[in-house]
């Protein structure tokens, strides 16, 4: 029998249902968030060939005990005050060679931001949460100082510049320009944060 009407139309009414089903499946399984955290570099395991002598006044020792108490530069300190103390130490500019420092120029504290080292020590029984808080405050101290300099030189925050520089979606022309700026600021306040091996007692 010859067809008179051509192919019969397929009923697409249930297409929406099928699509909804798939949609709900992907909605439930989706996790969009990206991880974020504190970036750190570990020291290489082989010791440097030459022993570098570092003056005691250029080291800011932060010690966390197992109860989460803090000993910063021989003083018992509240974690809330740590950021300020670290900033004062880094920004001190004791020998007068640092032209941009705004610290007290105390000769008994650090000579220059490029020489200042923060040494972080912790006990084996220190809680990880406390350790992260201290790390966060120390990184925060560096970031605050770098922001200040970036504001002075380029009129924007360092953290924002760095995030834009690291973002893979930023066009490469912008990235090249940012690279120098980020490097300049990083050299003004190099992040020298040493993590010594933990004490076992």
């Amino acid at each position: 029998m010859p067809r008179r009407k051509g192919a019969p139309e397929v009923n697409a009414g249930s297409m929406a249902d099928i699509a909804f089903l798939l949609l709900i499946f992907f909605l439930v399984t989706t996790t969009i968030e990206t991880d974020a955290g504190l970036d750190r570099m570990l020291p290489p395991i082989e010791p440097p060939d030459t022993d570098v002598v570092i003056k005691q006044k250029n080291i800011f020792t932060v010690n966390i005990n197992k109860n989460g108490q803090l000993l910063a530069d021989e003083n018992l300190m509240n974690i809330k005050d740590l950021r300020k103390a670290a900033m004062e130490f880094l920004d001190n500019g004791g020998d007068g060679t640092c032209s941009f420092c705004k610290g007290k120029r105390d000769p008994s504290s650090s000579d220059n931001p490029s020489k200042a080292i923060i040494s972080l020590k912790n006990d084996r029984e220190t809680k990880y949460g406390t350790y992260i808080t201290v790390q966060n405050e120390l990184v925060g101290a560096y970031n605050d100082l770098r922001n200040r300099e970036a504001q002075r030189l380029y009129g924007q925050d360092f953290v924002k510049m760095e995030a834009e520089y690291l973002n893979p979606e930023t066009p490469s022309s912008v990235r090249d320009e940012l690279k120098d700026k980020v490097k300049t600021i990083q050299d003004l306040f190099p992040q020298k944060l040493s993590e010594a091996e933990t004490s076992s007692n």
Binding site: A19, T30, A36, M41, K127, N143, E162
Partner: protein, 160 residues
């Protein structure tokens, strides 16, 4: 209101739902493209600490994950309540970390092998002793770039 009175004889015209599948498909494709399937189930308690000075971990293919924390309820009877390390889908001891990193590194393409980051997802109740041991292992295999994965939030919430 004569305009409205006119309608009283006829029924409401049915709203056309012909474009509904299109809209749903659009949403479907959006979620299909952004979906990342979970590749390992977490067998340890994993409440990350908070921090403010964080950087995003871009590019998931360059990240190796290490989990640590107390085993969850269902594994408590077998593995106890001490803080444990989880690598991929099983519990591991500290000295397995190095070989795990090397194995994961070997799986990645050549050009990425030098830019890998190790993300430490550690429960905030864990002790630093274990973390120090992990860090020591990472230094041995020269995996020096680490990221302490945290949530964004006030860091002082960690110390209560």
């Amino acid at each position: 209101m004569a305009k409205f009175a006119k309608k009283k004889d006829g029924d409401l015209p049915a709203v056309s739902t012909a474009s509904l599948p299109d809209i749903v498909f659009m949403l479907l494709f959006f979620f299909m493209t952004v979906t990342v399937m979970k590749d390992s189930s977490i067998m340890v308690e994993n409440i990350l600490p908070n921090a403010t000075e964080i950087k995003k971990l871009e590019k998931k293919d360059r990240v190796i994950y290490i989990f640590a924390g107390k085993p969850t309820k269902e594994y408590e009877s077998v593995y106890g309540t001490e803080t444990r390390i989880q690598l991929n889908d099983k519990f591991a001891s500290v000295n397995e970390v190095g070989s795990y990193i090397l194995a994961e590194r070997a799986k990645k393409p050549q050009e990425l092998q030098n830019v890998l980051t190790t993300a430490l997802k550690v429960d905030k109740q864990a002790n630093m002793g274990l973390i120090s041991d992990i860090k020591q292992e990472l230094r041995k295999v020269n995996a020096l770039k680490v990221n302490y994965t945290t949530f964004e939030g006030d860091a002082f919430n960690n110390i209560q």
